[in-house]
């Protein structure tokens, strides 16, 4: 059974159907990339996954748990299975880097403070941030903030990590570094990842499968190898808009793996 399942999810926001009966199944251990143009409903899909939004119709399942109907402690328990990296990292601005990363441990576990900071430091080292622990988020670059956000997302050892536009606003080199981190986490920790992006290069580099969302529905799901050869018109226009040809993209992927 798939780890994350959307069953005919409908959501109306701002007078239009943002999700129009969306069906989706994401398997354990994969990196599923959700592609789509702005306003296609990909961020809304992500928010349904973690229970920030509730569907008007349909259900969202995380394993055996129905997150779309969970409330209170039940919702809290399901959310424990997740980590999430927000688009702008969403770090608390008045806390230092290490306080931000240790926060979930200090708030949600009974670990002594020293142990929590120790664990936070280990995650920061994993992401190459050992020098930045005492800095405030405002003193960090966008790429570093995202890495801190990622450290915070993995500090509770989640099964699933959701990434909301992890490479938006970053330069290409930093973007690829973030891609490598996502790939690394999947391989080393077996974490299931769901990535929302419109950076096709990133999608092709990290995805095990790519889903394209358009007008609130999934219109294509394919592995990167098949994705670049897709005949779907929307997919083609996406590929061409980012100068990826049937051959070129595949060679790119070979180059990074």
């Amino acid at each position: 059974m798939s780890l994350i399942r959307f069953e005919r999810v409908r959501k109306r926001l701002g007078g239009r159907d943002v999700l129009a009966g969306l069906d989706l199944a994401i398997e354990k251990g994969e990196t599923f990339v959700l592609l789509g143009s702005s306003g296609s409903g990909k961020s809304v899909t992500l928010r349904h996954m973690i229970g920030l939004f509730r569907p008007d119709e349909g259900r969202v399942w995380i394993g055996d748990d129905c997150i779309s109907e969970a409330r209170g402690r039940e919702l809290e328990r399901i959310r424990r299975r997740f980590g999430m990296l927000f688009q702008n990292a969403a770090l608390l601005q008045w806390m230092t880097v290490i306080e931000n990363v240790a926060l979930p441990l200090l708030e949600k576990t009974k670990l002594p403070e020293s142990e929590a900071y120790e664990q936070a430091l280990r995650r920061l080292e994993l992401l190459g941030l050992a020098d930045a622990v005492e800095k405030l988020p405002a003193d960090l670059s966008g790429g570093m903030q995202k890495r801190v956000g990622l450290a915070r997302a993995i500090v509770m050892d989640p099964e699933i990590i959701l990434y909301d536009e992890p490479t938006s606003g970053l330069d290409p080199v930093t973007s690829r570094a973030i891609d490598r981190l996502i790939e690394d986490l999947r391989r080393r920790l077996g974490i299931t990842s769901v990535v929302v992006t419109h950076d096709l290069h990133s999608a092709l580099a990290i995805a095990t499968r790519i889903g394209v969302i358009h007008q609130g529905r999934i219109v294509e799901v394919a592995a990167p190898r098949d994705f670049v050869r897709s005949e779907n018109e929307l997919v083609r226009s996406f590929l061409e808009a980012q100068y990826i040809t049937r051959r070129g993209a595949w060679e790119n992927r070979e180059g990074t793996s």
Partner: protein
């Protein structure tokens, strides 16, 4: 949950429909603010946990110490103006010495909590709304909720505790400085000696005046915190939204200070 889905409405059919919607939205906002207040009140049981204790002390510092400068000046001048105006009128009857009572009674009963409330609403309340609003816009509140960390306990409760306790303390401070300001004007401008002024002041001020004034201060503190945090959490639409939340916080808190001030006076002084 603080993070909410954006509101969605069909366009209103006519002005009456628009009015009806506004009334309903206002009622809903008030309801949500009260629920948040209840939630924050329940969370006070966690105030002595180490992390909350630290956050609360920080809020005490922001509310109390950082506002002291402006409160000092406003309090002194309020007392001085009260003394000067009433003194000039009383001089016509040769009763300048009664400025002691006039200044003290009006400060303790009304002006002390009122001026303190306005200053705190404008400085601390607006800053609270702006900070929480910015946190909503930058998804920090959503991030807390995703981590199952309760934003009301973490952010609202320390502010509620700090404002509720600091408001009466600051009010007493305002009262004292105002009375002193009045004494200075009496001595220098109206020829009322300090001794006569303070003797006169003690004559008519009752304990009840003091308690009612402090009750007002507590109610103002709770209302300012509730309005500011609720407005901050209800922010939408980016930087513009933060500006609107701040503006609404100041307006609604001023109204709350005026209306609750009157109502409490009405109940205790019939």
């Amino acid at each position: 949950m603080i993070t909410r889905e954006p509101d969605q409405f069909e366009p209103a059919i006519n002005p009456l429909g628009e009015l009806g919607r506004k009334v309903l939205l206002t009622a809903r906002g008030a309801g949500r603010a009260l629920i948040m207040l209840g939630h924050a009140t329940l969370a006070i049981r966690h105030v002595f946990h180490r992390r909350n204790r630290r956050a609360t002390m920080e809020q005490f510092f922001i509310t109390g110490i950082k506002s002291l400068g402006v409160i000092t000046i406003v309090a002194l001048f309020t007392g001085m103006i009260l003394a000067l105006q009433t003194g000039l009128e009383l001089r016509r009857f040769g009763r300048e010495v009664n400025i002691g009572t006039a200044v003290t009674v009006s400060l303790v009963r009304e002006m002390g909590p009122f001026m303190t409330g306005l200053i705190i609403a404008a400085s601390v309340g607006s800053a609270m709304a702006a900070q929480l609003g910015t946190m909503v816009v930058s998804e920090e509140i959503a991030a807390l909720e995703v981590m199952s960390i309760d934003p009301v306990r973490m952010l609202v409760m320390p502010r509620l505790v700090a404002l509720t306790i600091m408001m009466p303390i600051l009010t007493v401070y305002t009262n004292i400085l105002g009375v002193v300001g009045g004494a200075i004007v009496g001595e220098t401008q109206l020829g009322v000696s300090m001794r006569a002024y303070f003797d006169n002041a003690r004559l008519y001020v009752t304990n009840r005046d003091l308690y009612v004034g402090l009750l007002k201060a507590i109610v103002f503190g709770i209302s300012i915190c509730t309005v500011a945090c609720h407005q901050g959490f209800s922010t939408s639409q980016g930087a513009v939204g933060v500006g609107q939340a701040t503006r609404r916080t100041v307006i609604i808190s001023f109204l709350a200070v005026l209306v609750f001030g009157y109502m409490i006076s009405r109940i205790f002084y019939k």
